[in-house]
Structures are given as C-alpha cells and as structure tokens.
C-alpha cells in the first residue's frame, strides 16, 4: 500500500501543476481558438490525468476527464471550434478535476459530488454540432499524427504517448542546424509518403546525407524543445529543501564561530582550512538559497482565470498583462504574497476598472487593462499592479475616513492627496459604495498591508482620478538569512533588520541638553529640522530605566516603519552581520516586539527586534510624527528649492562652522601621531598620497584645547587631489535654508548664518583651498590633461 500511496502522491503533485498550467492555457485559448499547439497541450494534460486515474482506479475522475478529452479531441481535429459555451464547460471541467484531486488528497477518494450535469454538458457540446459523431471510444489515437520522425535506427519503436503537434519537426531542426539541405529532407519525406516506413532520420543517415552524430544532436534538441523535463530536473520535496536551508543556517553559524576563534589562532593550517570552509559555506548558502527560489509567475499563473471569471461576473472587459514573470523569490515569500496579490487583483477588477459604457463615455478603450510587473531592485523585488481604471477618488476616501472617525478634520486638512489615498490601508476602510460579493467583505486593503509588512515588505499606492491606480509592493528576496545590525542594551544584544535602518546618530554628553527636547514629556530629537520621536530600547523592554544619564553619550538608531521614522536609543551599536532568522516558540509568539531570534558568532542567542511592533508598542510613530511632518511640510514647501545640506562642525573650543556637504568627499579620522610635515605644512599620508591639512581653528583664530584625541578631518577632493580640513568635532548634518547675515563675512568664510538657532560660520571651502595653495585647481587641471 505504501508504494501505492507514493504513486498517488506523485500523481497529485503532477496533476496540480498541470491544472495550474491548464487554467492559463484555457484563457489563452479563448483569445486564440485556432491555436492547435495550445489545444494539443490542453488535450495532453487531460489525457494524462485520465490515463493515470484509470490506472489508479479513480473511475469517476476518469469518466469526467474522458468526456472532456473527447471534446478536446474534436476541437483539436478542427471538427468543433472553441466558443464561449465550450470554454466555460472546459473551465468547469478543470474545476471539477481540481475538486476531485483535492478530495483524493484529503480523504483518499474522489468524494461524493455529482458531476453528471457537467458530463451531460460536455457530451452535449461534443455531440452538438456534429450529432453523428461517435462517442470517443478509447484513448484517442494521435489525430493528425506527423511523420513518425522521432525514432532512430538504434532507438526502440515510437512511444505510445500521443504525439505532440506543437513540437518542432526533426526536418526543420536539421535544416536549421545546417545538417541537411531542405531538398534532401523533402526527398526523404517524399520517400516516406511513398511508403518508406523508415523514420526520417534513418533515411537521411542511410542515404549518407548526414552523420549519425548530427542526428543524435538534433534529436536531443527536439526533446528539449518538447519541454521534456526528465533530463535535467528532478522533483524535490519542499520539506527537504527547508531542512537543507536550516542545516545551511547552522553551518553558517558554526563557520562564524570558527572564524572568530581562528582569528586568534596562529596555526596557518587551521587558518587556511577555515578560510576554505568559509568560501565553501558561502557558496553552499547561495546555492541552497537558489534552490528555494521560484519565479513569481507561479503565483501569477492563476490570475488570468481570476480576472476572466470576475470580469464576466461584473460585466466588464479586462485584459491582464504581465511583465517579469521570471523574477525569482524565495518560496516562503511566494506563499506569503499569494493571497494579498489575489486580493489586489480582485479589487482592481471590481473597483478599479469601470464598466465598458463608463469607459467609452470617458473616451477610453472599453477594455480595461491590468498590468502586473515584477523586477529586482537593490536586493528587493518590486511588484507593481497598475490599472487604467477610475483611480481612487481622494474626496471620497477623505469623506469615508472622516465618517469612520479614522482621521480628524484637522488631520484631513493637512494631508496631501497621496497621503489621503494611502488611507485605504487603514483597518476598517472600504470605499465601495455598496459591498459587492467579490471584494469588500471584511477583508480589506489593511489585511493586504499587514501581510506584506509581516514579511518585511511595504505597500504604496498612487492614483490619478480617471486615469488609474498604481500599487507598488516592495518585497525582500528571502526571509531565512537577512542582513542585520547588532546593538546592545542593558548588556543584551539585539538584532535589527537592516531594511528598517536609515542611519545612526551619536549624541555626545554636551550635546544632550540641546539635542534632546521633550514634547509633553516625550523625548524628541531634531534631525535635519524634523522632529524625530525617540524610544529608549531598554525602557521599552523594561530592562533599564528609560531616563537618560546626563553625562553619557547616547546612540540613536534611526529606523523606519510604516513609512514613518523614529529613533531607538541603545547603549551600544555593534556590527552589521548576516543573521539567520529562527522563529520563536509559541510561548513567545505573542510578544510583538520580536520578529524571531538568531544565534551569534559566540553561540549565544540574540533576539531580533520587530521594528513595526516596537513602534506600535511605543506609540512612537503615530501622533508625534504627524506633527513633525506637518511642520516640515509647512516650512519645506516655500523654500524647498534653495535648501542646502550642510555638515556642521565644531572648530576650536566653541566655533561653529558649516561646510556644504556637496564639497565633502569623506570624513576621516587620523591619530595625532600620523601628522607629518610636508614643505613645512601639516600633512598626512592618505590613500598612498600626501594630503595637506588645514587647521580651521588656526585660520579662524578660535581658541584650541590641547587634546590627544584623534584628528577629525573633512576631506575635500577635486580631480584626484585631496586636502584635509581639520575640525575638532563633527556635530551634525542639517538640511536648511540658510540666509547669510549681512556684514558677518571674515577670512575664509562666506559669512555667518543661523542654523538650528545658533550662529554658524559658513566655510568658503574653495576660497580656503585657493588661499592655501593657489595652484591647487590649476595643477589639478594639468594633471588630468597629462593623464
């Protein structure tokens, strides 16, 4: 029995795959009813299912498949043509087969559903136009069987499988590859029709037209084109792949551990072996990851059917186009996006695309179009769903959101059109004036958003009324191994997924007083003119007091969740690392601040923070950010164009200077011991060259503290030459509209401006460079000219 079960299982797996393909082929068939290749493929699939279930003793399934096969056979022979009634019946057949397969899978039997109506319909259609047609008796013989060209002198008799009409003919291949002349092939074919029973290839070889090797090659090419998968592919159980992935994860961890130890170890043998292990592990990891990748088309293949059925139901005309079907994603992610995508597609047809009458009145093509597009972008996959429907009317959305109390009138007044459109993702939102039975039943776009965010993705919607809607999903490639940032708080390490990370800030003790302000007791930091709400990780987790120590520098990890930003205060920022994500046991699943756990290089476990959950827990991103955004919008609207990004530094003890970021190549740190003299001036060795240094404090005459600290150098580079500006400390980067106050200009500056409520000198970088070395720019030109 065990063997039998195995066979049944294989049959199910294979049939499901075939059915998925059938769905899309049937839809194509409606468009191209004369396409014999398509018909042949559909016929083959049904025939295979019928044959196998006859063998396995599923009589009912066999009988249903049988009538379908008869009908298909007629279509293929051209005795009938595909019309709507036929394609509906065939789709119903696919559904029935699927239903029975499901029941076989669940209960081991075909189930009690009565399909006699379907059988009757199919039979009637079969007989309909040609009443005299006999009932297809047995497995139909290959209809218009092509010349028996497949077998060669040394292969056994032609197979019994139905011949495929779609495959390339051997003669064609031979001619294309130059192995035989068209005339020779024609002659051989003529010989066949005169009664020569030898296969085409054999005739050609025996007549000396070509070498046997050429024939073998051509036959190999033919079977590849036939879509024969048996040569290069095997079926692998997904559970096995999952297990392999886990094992590779463990290997990666063991490798990390070993690397840590071998660093200290002096034995070159061990070091070399470790390095080799490292390389192999990395390659293995990549390889196993690849085996789990599936093209996004596997999910998409069912959408043509969804769109077809739904557009029929809603009396709309909708065309579905797909681009980038082959884009690959990890299978767990493919699974996770299946439902959200289906929901979006249904929404597009139901709410997005208008009825043909409305579209005609608006001067559009009565047939609406939905475009699915996928592509890789920066380690992520973008999936866009674009429709040319009516778009999302912001006024209706706003009214609905107000009516449901999802936003306040004040908020509504401040929101941009795009923000309003994105309100459709709020829980409890549905714009459809009347709830249809297709979409809008409880499950809304909020579920789509939640599901996409659960796997670390994001959703954004853009819409133009009357023109259409564009939904953009950003999805990570894989969930199993992700880049993360390790931070420490209260002695424990935590991992933060890199996707949520924006930047890292450090506030020195003397900056704390001005750097951290409070809004109703809630700490905020002004980051480039915007208020960044702060969350104290230790306090939030309840492992440390959330008050800040006045005499300690703090580290802020700026994170993004839900398109909003907040700063997470941690004790220490450690390294960026590839982390292997492991799920938490069910006792811990309900804690929403964790996304999982991982094992560090030293074998200890670290928790992975769930940024969205953490933000929610802390309420960090809600109200405060609203305010911050509205203020920045107000001030940003007027002067957005002449804003400049400036690097603010301290020069000397109190001098505050700003350097346009556009002139900054890099920020570097040098130990004081690296300071040397070149031509009587300070210089350091930098990237194999001598880089002269300018002490800004001496130029501006600011008081200097004797210090042993490293030199902070702002590197200015033009045409391959660098010059370093020495400052005492890098303070911040600000993006502000700066107005130079009249009469404040002094040597080496463009004047002073007020930045962040403080008087700040703007450094005239090019002026300084020219003053220091009048030939800096000329020589640079010469050098490049010479090079």
């Amino acid at each position: 029995m065990g063997e039998m079960e195995e066979v049944v299982k294989e049959f199910l797996v294979e049939s499901y795959e075939n059915l998925d393909r059938l769905d899309s082929e049937m839809i194509q068939l409606e468009e191209r009813p004369q396409d014999l290749e398509l018909l042949a493929s559909i016929f083959r699939t049904i025939h295979t299912i019928k044959g196998t279930c006859g063998f396995l003793g599923f009589g009912k399934l066999e009988s249903v498949a049988h009538v379908g096969e008869s009908l298909l056979s007629k279509l293929r022979e051209g005795k009938l043509t595909v019309d709507e009634a036929i394609s509906n019946a065939l789709l119903a057949l696919v559904d029935a087969v699927r239903e029975m397969l499901k029941s076989i899978e669940d209960q081991g039997a075909e189930g009690g559903t009565d399909y006699s109506a379907l059988v009757a319909t199919l039979t009637a259609l079969n007989d309909g136009k040609l009443p005299a047609a006999p009932k297809a008796e047995s497995a139909p013989k290959p209809a218009n069987a092509p010349a028996p060209a497949q077998s060669t002198a040394n292969t056994p008799a032609p197979r019994s499988a139905p011949t495929t009409d779609g495959e390339p003919k051997l003669g064609r291949i031979l001619v294309d590859s130059g192995a035989a002349q068209p005339a020779e092939v024609r002659e051989a074919l003529a010989a066949q029709s005169r009664g020569d029973t030898r296969p085409l290839g054999e005739i050609l070889v025996q007549s000396g037209t070509m070498q046997p090797e050429q024939l073998h090659e051509a036959l190999a090419g033919q079977s590849t084109a036939r879509g024969n998968v048996s040569d290069g592919n095997i079926r692998v159980d997904v559970a096995l792949l999952d297990k392999l992935m886990n094992l590779v994860g463990e290997l990666v961890l063991a490798r990390n551990q070993l690397m840590q130890h071998s660093g200290k170890d002096a034995d070159p043998q061990i070091a070399a072996t470790t390095q080799r292990l490292d390389l192999v592990t990395t390659e293995l990891q990549e390889g196993v990851m690849k085996t789990r990748m599936q093209p996004v088309g596997t999910v998409w293949s069912k959408f043509p059917r969804v769109v077809r059925d739904l557009s029929k139901l809603t009396h709309k005309e909708v065309r579905l186009e797909m681009e980038g079907k082959e884009t690959e994603l990890d299978r767990t992610i493919i699974e996770a996006i299946k439902d959200p995508l289906t929901h979006i597609i249904r929404n597009c047809v139901d709410h997005g695309i208008e009825t043909p009458a409305v579209r005609k009145a608006a001067g559009k093509n009565p047939e609406g179009c939905i475009l699915l597009r996928a592509c890789h972008e920066g380690g992520q996959v973008n999936i866009e769903i674009v429709d040319d429907g009516g778009g999302v009317p912001p006024e209706r959305v706003k009214a609905k959101a107000l009516e449901r109390g999802l936003i306040t009138p004040e908020q509504a007044a401040r929101m941009s059109e795009r923000e309003i459109v994105n309100l459709i993702f709020l829980p409890g939102f549905s714009t459809a004036a009347q709830v249809s039975n297709i979409s809008g039943r409880g499950v809304g776009m909020d579920v789509v958003k939640t599901n996409i965010e659960k796997i670390g993705g994001s959703v954004d919607v853009q819409s133009v009324v009357g023109k259409g809607t564009r939904l953009k999903l950003k999805i990570p490639l894989t969930l199993a191994i992700i880049p993360g940032l390790i931070v420490t708080t209260a002695g424990d390490r935590y991992a933060i997924p890199q996707v949520s990370l924006l930047e890292l800030l450090r506030l020195e003790p003397e900056q704390l007083a001005s750097g951290i302000e409070y809004v109703q007791g809630v700490p905020v930091h002004r980051l480039r003119g915007r208020l960044l709400p702060l969350v104290h990780l230790g306090g939030e987790l309840g492992v440390a007091p959330s008050e800040l120590m006045p005499d300690q520098a703090i580290n802020i990890v700026v994170l993004q969740s839900d398109g909003r930003q907040f700063g997470l205060i941690v004790d220490e920022v450690n390294d960026a690392e590839e982390i292997v994500v492991k799920p938490l046991s069910k006792q811990l699943k309900s804690i929403e601040v964790y996304a999982g756990a991982t094992i560090m290089g030293d074998g200890q476990v670290a928790l992975i923070l769930d940024i969205a959950g953490l933000a929610q827990q802390a309420h960090a991103v809600s109200e405060l950010k609203e305010q911050a955004r509205s203020t920045s919008v107000a001030s940003g609207a007027a002067v957005a164009s002449d804003r400049e990004t400036l690097l603010v530094c301290r020069s000397g003890r109190e001098g505050r200077i700003a350097i346009p970021l556009s002139t900054v190549a890099r920020l570097e740190e040098f130990p004081r011991s690296a300071l040397e003299l070149a031509g009587g001036r300070d210089a350091v060795q930098y990237r194999g060259e001598i880089m002269p240094l300018l002490q800004l404090s001496s130029i501006y005459g600011s008081a200097v503290e004797a210090s042993e600290a490293n030199l902070q150098v702002v590197v200015y580079t033009r045409k391959g030459r660098s010059l370093g500006l020495v400052v005492e400390q890098i303070l911040d980067i600000v993006e502000e509209h700066c107005v130079v106050q009249a009469g404040t200009r002094r040597t080496g500056t463009l004047g002073a401006a007020i930045l962040q409520q403080k008087v700040t000198d703007l450094v005239d970088v090019e002026g300084l460079v020219r003053e220091h070395d009048p030939s800096f720019f000329d020589e640079a030109v010469l050098q490049t000219a010479g090079a």
Binding site: D492, Q587, V593, Y594, Q604, V605
Partner: protein, 146 residues
C-alpha cells in the same frame, strides 16, 4: 498490566516526572538569553546545537519558591509539536517504571496553580512521584503575564 516510564527530576525537594517518550534529552546548565516582556516563567532562550529553545522555569511554572541563588538548573528538553522546549529543574533523577496500580488522582486539596498541571501521583516505596502534563505546562496563554 500496563506500566509507564517516567523521566524524573527534583524541584524544591519533591520528585516530579514527565513521560519518558516526551523527553528528547537532558543537558546541563546552558547560558541563556533573557527575553524581556515575556511571561514570567520564561527564563530565556538557549542554543541547542543551532536550534533555539525556550527555557521554562518549572519552579515558577508550578508556583514553587524560586531556586536559591547560585544553584544552577538542569535542562529537561521535551519534544512538542511546536519544536523543542526546555524545562528547568533543580536536579535530574532516574527513569522510573511504574505500574497502573501505583497511580492515584491528584488530591483535591492541591493548590490551584498545580492542580491542572499534575496528571496524577504514583506512590513509590519511599516517596511520591508527581506526574506533570507537559502540554498544559507549556500552554502559557491561559495564565496571565506576570
């Protein structure tokens, strides 16, 4: 006559046991990573050969007084549908085979927090063996977060 095998261990001086087929392995004390905001009985996470396992302090779970400072618990790792979970115990004992005759329902006077978790009592020669219900032990959703 049916017999059962139990993996026994000590908690606060008393002998407890879980069915031996549920036990995956017994290991000595492991470094743990604490899980802030978790249920009070969750002591932390341990790395069991690359598998991350939640450790539950049985003393806390059964409402017993906390383990004296300096005493290191042992891990009894049990299999569940949801993966392995470790039970922290004071000391590990033998695997004992008992017969149905020795069995008795837990006394009705048992403290409320224990009653649900104790399947029954086996009367051994010198002491009593309290048999624990693993599934209920590991189901924390019924009890509030401390």
């Amino acid at each position: 006559m049916s017999t059962h095998q139990y993996c026994t261990f000590q908690l606060h001086g008393a002998v407890y046991g879980v069915a031996v087929h549920e036990v995956q392995e017994v290991i000595r004390f492991q470094e743990m990573t604490r899980v802030p905001r978790a249920h009070a009985v969750v002591s932390g996470l341990i790395n069991l050969r690359g598998q991350i396992v939640t450790a539950i302090d049985l003393r806390a779970r059964l409402g017993l007084p906390p383990r004296p400072a300096g005493e290191r618990p042992m891990n009894v790792v049990v299999r569940t549908e949801d993966g392995a979970v470790s039970l922290l115990v004071d000391q590990i004992g033998d695997v004992i085979e008992v017969s149905q005759e020795q069995f008795e329902e837990p006394p009705p006077t048992l403290r409320a927090e224990q009653r649900d978790l104790v399947q029954g009592v086996y009367k051994l020669e010198k002491q009593l063996l309290l048999v624990l219900e693993t599934r209920k032990l590991l189901n924390l959703s019924a009890t509030g977060v401390a």
